[in-house]
């Protein structure tokens, strides 16, 4: 399993894609927002936390199809399915590798981009925290979506369609935490719920992902 994680990380760094591109997309979405909604801070400030969460979610989304598709195409997924590790473990490791190369950099970059959108001062801490807690759920849910669509040609957009409604609860609680944080409001409840969602998806969804992979390999 550690070998698999190492390999996936090496691949995403060496293929010159996985790692930098999600981050770049995040940067670009955030940069384009002022062009789209207008530059004045009165407009930007209140939506900053939300746009950052939305941008993180979208960049996460766009890198999902790399989680399994490459391994499926070159036959490595079949070999992993017959290897002496459970497919649930493979699904978990894949999600973890995705988080390490996408969710984690996004979380670390978010404060810097918050400056661009005039995020209010107290919001930075909570934005980072909410992303740190919420993005693992995004990766796990995304792995499930990728597992469902792995057999399809150009399943990319279909994958987005399937995954986005599943992202709704995470997005709501995550953005709520960041928003309340920025306004200095109490945020224990949404924070607890966000953590709960992440833990529950981590515990349960790998089974569904493994089942979907098995069905797709058949």
């Amino acid at each position: 399993m550690i070998a698999l994680l190492k390999r996936d990380l090496a691949l995403s760094v060496r293929a010159g894609g996985g790692f930098g591109l999600a981050l770049a997309f995040f940067l670009i979405v955030v940069t384009l927002t002022p062009f789209a909604v207008g530059p004045d801070s009165g407009t930007l400030s209140p939506i900053a936390a939300g746009i950052l969460w939305l941008g993180a979610l979208l960049s996460c989304l766009l890198s999902l199809d790399r989680i399994l598709a490459l391994d499926f195409e070159d036959g490595a997924l079949e070999l992993l399915a017959t290897a002496p590790i459970p497919l649930e473990g493979v699904a978990t490791v894949k999600a973890l590798a995705h988080w390490l190369t996408t969710g984690l950099p996004l979380t670390l970059a978010a404060p810097a981009l918050g400056v661009l959108l005039n995020l209010p001062e107290p919001g930075f801490k909570w934005l980072t925290l909410s992303l740190a807690i919420g993005t693992p759920a995004l990766s796990v849910i995304g792995t499930f979506g990728a597992a469902l669509t792995v057999g399809l040609k150009r399943g990319g957009l279909l994958l987005s369609l399937i995954v986005l409604p599943l992202y709704v609860p995470t997005l709501i609680f995550g953005a709520e935490v960041a928003r309340r944080g920025a306004q200095g409001m109490p945020l224990e409840t949404p924070l607890a719920l966000l953590g709960g969602i992440t833990l529950a998806t981590l515990a349960l969804l790998p089974f569904a992902s493994a089942a979907a992979i098995r069905i797709n390999l058949r």
Partner: protein, 206 residues
């Protein structure tokens, strides 16, 4: 290790392809599968490897004793030959990739990224993977595609050595490899187009 297959039936794309396949492969022996294109060799091997459920019949031992080499090699273009092999070795809990590199004449290529290999070299790397799994039963689906004669000889020698150590192998191929063991022609096991069994539960439909 011995392999027993009894009365196996396989389905592909929703259609029954093979029926009533039975054979034994004693340890130290190989079985060569033959049959025209589309008869179901790949389907049978995938079923044996546990990638798809059998419609009927039994296979012993289960997938955990079996290593399967399909048409695709599953190696990563940006990783080097040694990195690819090491990955598979660690995944299967073994560690020494030297013998596999030597057996398939990959030592000179060890540090080349797999993507820069020629087709035959890629194939050799795919076959070398089998040696590092450490599993007793090897399944090959047309292993000699794009190999030149020298490499075919390397492959046959590697399988022979595996058989000599008490392993067994099933090879679907169109050419003669000179392996110890029998040949199974699959054409007789082709599934009949099902009659309309009005009593049967699902047949009524499919």
């Amino acid at each position: 290790m011995e392999m027993n297959v009894t009365d196996l039936a396989c389905t592909r794309g929703g259609m029954r392809v093979l029926e009533g396949v039975s054979f034994d492969v004693p340890s130290g022996r190989a079985l060569v599968l033959r049959g025209p294109n589309g008869i179901g060799k790949t389907t049978l091997l995938r079923t044996l490897a546990g990638l798809q459920p059998a419609d009927a019949g039994s296979v012993t031992p289960g997938p955990e004793a079996i290593a399967y080499a399909s048409h695709a090699d599953g190696n990563k273009a940006v990783l080097t030959v040694a990195e690819n092999l090491t990955f598979w070795a660690r995944l299967h809990g073994t560690s020494d990739i030297r013998p596999a590199l030597r057996d398939f004449n990959l030592e000179a290529l060890e540090t080349r990224p797999a993507g820069s290999l020629s087709a035959g070299q890629k194939r050799r790397l795919g076959l070398a993977r089998m040696a590092v799994t450490g599993r007793p039963i090897w399944l090959f689906d047309e292993p000699t595609v794009s190999l030149d004669t020298d490499s075919v000889a390397l492959f046959a020698a590697a399988v022979d050595r595996h058989l000599g150590a008490g392993g067994s192998a099933i090879v679907a191929t169109h050419i003669d490899l000179g392996l110890e063991g029998e040949t199974l022609e699959l054409a007789p096991f082709r599934a009949e187009a099902p009659e309309d069994h009005h009593d049967a539960f699902h047949e009524a439909f499919l």
